[in-house]
């Protein structure tokens, strides 16, 4: 039980890093915002594993709803794709 939990925690460490890189490599800004939200879920789980469950809850709400929400609003008011030139 404990080992499974820790294994998931180790996976989340990798997931956070990969998510960060993947979010910045997207050309589609909307997809980048979604991926940064997904990275936040991994981070929230990691907070839980690092003995701070209250922060995990906060991060899950703020990082996956509020922050990408603000970014998506900004994208809707501006443009979706990165300019090429």
């Amino acid at each position: 039980m404990i080992d499974a939990f820790m294994t998931v925690a180790y996976l989340m460490v990798i997931g956070v890093t990969i998510g960060a890189v993947a979010a910045l490599l997207q050309k589609d800004l909307l997809r980048a915002a979604y991926i940064s939200g997904a990275e936040s879920i991994a981070l929230a789980f990691l907070f839980h594993a690092l003995l701070a469950p209250d922060l995990g809850l906060t991060q899950a709400i703020v990082g996956t709803v509020l922050m990408p929400g603000i970014i998506i609003l900004a994208i809707l008011k501006t443009r979706r794709h990165e300019e090429s030139d």
Binding site: L51, T58, I71
Partner: protein, 124 residues
């Protein structure tokens, strides 16, 4: 050889997030990408602060009824770092909101998201 515990691994992940975020903020040209890089940077700082308080094999620092008071200070995870993280999350949200508002205003004025065009100096 440093043992790869959860704490050291998450420190590593935090360092990577900070480096990725800072590099993204400095070198990416798109303003929204810079904004996303900032959220990654603040996530990295949060992760570093939370993993500071981690105690190997410790317990969540909430005093449950019936728990022994004498063991609690030694076993519980430290709470100051996470306390700071809560503030950092709030600051991150407000900074993101201000940045997004300024980006939208400047997009309406200049019609582009490229930082090299929007932030070009105009004096002289």
């Amino acid at each position: 050889m440093i043992e790869l515990t959860l704490q050291t691994l998450s420190f590593l992940a935090a360092a990577l997030l900070v480096i990725i975020g800072m590099a993204g903020m400095l070198y990416l040209d798109n303003l929204i990408k810079k904004l996303i890089a900032f959220t990654l940077l603040s996530d990295g700082v949060n992760l570093a602060l939370v993993s500071l308080g981690y105690v190997q094999g410790g317990i969540v620092p909430i005093l449950e009824p019936g728990a022994s008071l004498s063991d609690f200070p030694n076993e519980a995870a430290l709470i100051f770092g996470p306390g700071i993280v809560l503030t950092n999350i709030v600051i991150g949200v407000s900074t993101t909101a201000i940045l997004a508002a300024l980006i939208v205003i400047l997009y309406k004025r200049y019609g582009t998201l490229k930082a090299s065009k929007v932030l070009k100096g105009e004096h002289e």
